[in-house]
């Protein structure tokens, strides 16, 4: 039997709230500890306990990190989903299931391992509650034996998961060893999937995007976090609170930050703009429904030119939608959020490293351009565990933008809040508390002139809008630039952003293997700039890959580059699951075939 080494997908089906997450993370971390690249995706219901949940680990020493459509090893711990889980398996896949479930294997084309998980767990504890929790650890033990997990790597993972609490470590290791012993003695290896130690994860980290973004906010100098709980965003402010508690107190124990749990998302953004206007770095974090509520304040921020940072951890919508499933469905709304002629700086992180980097950069851009900046992550990036290089400490100091101090005002001798002094569309501002007699000004969402005075004059209003447009033109040159990957002399372009990136990376290799060479431009921010137009101009066909139903980024490209509209085609994925490579490859192969015909 030929081995499939370090390249397979494990899916564990459990019951939400049964303690399976510890076992799943230990399994993931054990593989990582063996030096084999992997990442973990949690597919969970909108429920606290009782409904089915799945955890998928993709092991891939080539480094592909997107979701794999096919499951190679299915661990079935949930009676309610085992039939459906098994039905989806390809022939030759592995089924490990709990014998205690009312289930009779019917498929002959699978490698089936039946294990008495509950009985084995009973050997290490008689406490019914603990027994339920450690039952999940037994399957880790079984997989350790079946896949060849290094016991040292596993033990390290257990130690880490239970923060070296001796009692919990001993209990869980006990359950794990029961599973391993059972597999060693009773199960005969009949499948090809194996793990072998590599040195591909040395120095790397495993982290969720929300923690990475919160860390970005910490190092980006955020001092005000105003937020309202919403899935899948809440873990971002919660991580910020945790980091700030540890790393942002002064020697007297005082907090050098403020966290306010607001009454709703409207108030969250209101507080952020209040904080930004007063001179602080302020953020909020939300998801689609919260974005809708923030719409009016977003326009006020745009027009009064007030800095602030909004993280949007996108989920499937509309309305409540699928709050625990992923999507890239807010991009079109956020790009122009609010009424009237608004536009926003939008950052599009694809990786946990970019969550950190853009988490910091967002505050610099907000201060530099005096406007709300949106960071569009998604549930897949925010809540799932990704492998990454460690984050790099910022080399550049904080950019606080054009703020005039009392001394500055003494020197220049005049101040008009909305005057384009430098010709880049970005005016100067003063902060409340500035004692200079010229410093005071009044921010208003209604018509204003260069001196921030109320006006309804047509010329004044138009001039202000045109200057704002110029400001965003300047911003387009300073937001994170798109990244181009050339596939050689090719006429086919791929354009993607955010987490779709990982599926595009794998799909391009699949396409290349089937004779389709592609160039790839990954967008990292709005407003778009000339690099995007050049890419459109240089290619005959451009496939825009995104995780929504309506081709939202494609719509934005159409607005900005109408001359290239006929070249654009959508490659879409929108069922709530993270996009996979095969879905892109299939759509492009079919489209290219149509072109050739």
């Amino acid at each position: 039997m030929e081995s499939t080494l370090n390249n397979f997908t494990i899916q564990v089906g459990t019951v939400n709230g049964s303690g399976s997450q510890s076992a799943n993370l230990i399994l993931l971390r054990s593989i990582f500890n063996m030096g084999v690249p992997c990442n973990g995706k949690n597919l969970f219901p909108s429920n606290i306990a009782g409904l089915p949940t799945w955890f998928t680990i993709r092991v891939d020493e080539r480094g592909y990190a997107c979701r794999s459509r096919d499951v190679d090893i299915c661990v079935a711990m949930n009676e309610n989903t085992i039939d459906a889980d098994v039905a989806e398996l390809r022939p030759g896949s592995v089924l490990v299931y709990n014998e205690a479930l009312a289930y009779k294997p019917r498929r002959e084309d699978l490698v089936v391992y039946a294990c008495p998980f509950t009985t084995l767990a009973g050997k290490v504890t008689t406490d019914p509650k603990l027994k339920k929790l450690v039952t999940n650890m037994v399957y880790v033990g079984v997989l350790q034996e079946l896949l060849g997990l290094d016991p040292v790597a596993v033990e390290q993972a257990v130690q880490r998961q239970f923060a070296r609490k001796a009692k919990a470590v001993a209990l869980n290791l006990g359950a794990l060893r029961e599973g391993a012993a059972y597999a060693r003695e009773k199960l005969r290896k009949k499948d090809p999937f194996r793990l072998e130690t590599r040195n591909l994860t040395a120095g790397k980290i495993l982290i969720e995007g929300n923690a990475a973004a919160a860390m970005g906010a910490l190092f980006g100098g955020c001092t005000l976090c105003a937020w309202y709980p919403i899935t899948p965003s809440s873990s971002l402010p919660e991580a910020f609170i945790e980091f700030a508690r540890k790393h942002r107190h002064d020697k007297d124990g005082k907090a050098k930050y403020a966290v306010i749990q607001a009454e709703d998302e409207i108030a969250s953004l209101g507080m952020v703009l209040g904080g930004g206007w007063a001179g602080a770095r302020a953020m909020t974090s939300t998801s689609g429904p919260g974005i809708s509520l923030m719409s009016e304040f977003a326009g006020l921020g745009y027009y009064t030119e007030t800095p602030g940072v909004v993280f949007d951890i996108q989920r499937a919508g509309p309305s409540t939608g699928l709050p625990t499933r992923t999507a890239q469905g807010d991009i079109l709304k956020v790009a122009y959020l609010s009424h009237g002629d608004t536009q926003h700086i939008v950052l599009l992180p694809a990786s946990v490293e970019e969550c950190f980097d853009f988490g910091m950069a967002a505050f610099d851009l907000a201060d530099r351009f005096q406007t709300p900046v949106f960071v569009l992550s998604d549930l897949d990036l925010g809540l799932n565990v990704w492998m990454s290089d460690p984050f790099k400490y910022p080399e550049k100091p904080l950019d606080r933008g054009k703020v005039l101090s009392e001394e500055d005002l003494n020197r220049v001798g005049k101040f008009e809040r909305y005057r384009d002094v430098d010709g880049d569309g970005v005016p100067y501002r003063t902060l409340p508390g500035n004692p200079h007699p010229l410093a005071g000004w009044f921010a208003r969402g209604s018509g204003h002139n260069e001196a921030a005075q109320y006006t309804e004059k047509p010329g004044d209003y138009k001039r202000m809008l045109d200057r704002l447009a110029k400001k965003f033109e300047t911003a387009s040159q300073q937001v994170p630039a798109p990244i181009l990957q050339n596939g050689g002399d090719t006429r086919v372009g791929l354009l993607a952003y955010g987490t779709s990136h990982w599926a595009v990376v794998e799909s391009r290799d699949q396409l290349s293997a089937s004779g389709i060479q592609t160039d790839y431009l990954r967008l990292r921010a709005l407003p778009l700039n000339g690099a995007v137009e050049r890419f459109l101009a240089e290619h005959e066909r451009v496939y825009v890959v995104e995780q929504n139903q309506t081709g939202q980024m494609l719509s934005i490209l159409r607005i900005h580059y109408p001359a290239h509209t006929s070249k654009l085609a959508s490659v879409l994925h929108y069922d709530g699951m993270p996009i996979d490579a095969a879905c892109i490859t299939e759509q492009i192969v079919a489209a290219e075939k149509e072109c050739a015909d």
Partner: protein, 348 residues
């Protein structure tokens, strides 16, 4: 005895050398005779007489006639006219990051009692240190006279229709939700309002003043319960008020039993002189029952309704350093390289 208030500033400048004009703003665009303009005048007097440096003040408002008024006073201060009903959120954010600012929020009954009711309630709970004024005329003025949520049952609209719905008493809400300085007044009663404003600015926490401010255009007719005539006929003052600032010598005579001197956190005093009833502003229960009784008998009670001095304000609860967050530099804001390295180790 007579209650005489001392004026330390006999000259045309106050104790920091500024003239009253230095506290004014741009010309009002409200209707002639609007109660809001009178309130603007009283705000100017309070800030001028207290000798507050304008640059230390931050003005906030929502949307509506009342929310326009922050441009009509303290033009040297920074101000932010935000969106409808959301003034409390904006002010909360700004004052959390700079708790040294003297915050004043001006709102209206539409702004605070309808679209922004939740935000108003939440700012009471959070006890943000600022002065929150509702200029209450019972109607939406800028949209031409629709009833607001503070209109009394049976109050008549200009077109003749009567209000059927229960009014929201913002002061009762404020008391219920933990606000420690709650007053009601009338735009035309500077003698009462100016000391209340000064007392509010000396309070350590949220101070809330609901000011009946007749809308001369849409709600000043017979049958309205927010008209000048109605207020004149039904205003019952809880006490006579005076204010002595912490930098003034106390020259007020007061008699035990009829006059109370209440010290405020900054060392200033409110002088409360008993009128018809013996009202204790320190009792939450009494304040709420007094308001309820007044409502049943169609009386407009004005004066200091409730005072609670030691509730921690938001900045205290946030455990903020004395130096405002906005003044922190990069060394304070960005943890050193070693912290990131340590964090990265913990994810390896």
């Amino acid at each position: 005895m007579t209650l005489t208030l001392t004026e330390t500033t006999k000259a045309n400048v106050n104790r920091i050398g500024l003239a009253k004009n230095d506290y004014k703003g741009s010309r009002s665009t409200l209707c002639a005779g609007c109660g809001h303009d009178a309130i603007t005048g009283h705000i100017i007097s309070a800030f001028y007489e207290l000798g507050i440096e304008p640059h230390r003040v931050a003005k906030f408002s929502g949307i509506g006639c009342s929310s326009k008024t922050p441009t009509y006073f303290l033009s040297r201060s920074h101000g932010f006219n935000s969106v409808h009903g959301r003034m409390p959120a904006l002010a909360t954010g700004a004052l959390a990051v700079n708790h040294k600012l003297i915050g004043i929020g001006v709102s209206g009954d539409g702004d605070s009692a309808s679209i922004g009711l939740n935000h108003m309630c939440q700012i009471f709970r959070r006890n943000v240190k600022m002065l929150y004024i509702v200029e209450n005329n019972g109607v939406y003025g800028l949209t031409k006279g629709q009833f607001s949520a503070t209109a009394d049952v049976g109050s008549k609209q200009k077109g003749g229709s009567l209000n059927d719905y229960e009014p929201i008493d913002t002061c009762a809400l404020a008391i219920e939700l933990g606000c420690g300085y709650v007053a009601r007044s009338f735009s035309g009663d500077g003698k009462q309002l100016v000391p209340l404003l000064k007392g509010a600015l000396s309070h350590d926490g949220l101070s809330f003043i609901d000011i009946i401010s007749p809308c001369v255009t849409f709600n000043n007719h017979e049958g309205s319960t927010k008209s000048y005539d109605f207020v004149k006929d039904n205003d019952i003052r809880l006490q006579e008020l005076g204010f002595v600032s912490h930098y003034e010598p106390i020259t007020v005579d007061y008699e035990e039993g009829t006059t109370k001197r209440v010290e405020l956190p900054d060392g200033s005093y409110l002088i409360l002189r008993k009128l018809d009833r013996d009202y204790d502003p320190f009792s939450k229960k009494l304040a709420l029952s007094t308001l309820a009784d007044a409502r049943l008998s169609n009386q407009l009670l004005t004066g200091l309704l409730y005072l609670e001095k030691n509730r921690p304000s938001l900045d205290t609860r946030l455990n903020l350093p004395d130096r405002p967050l906005v003044e922190l530099g990069e060394d304070d804001l960005r943890p050193p390289r070693a912290v990131l390295e340590q964090l990265m180790e913990s994810y390896k």
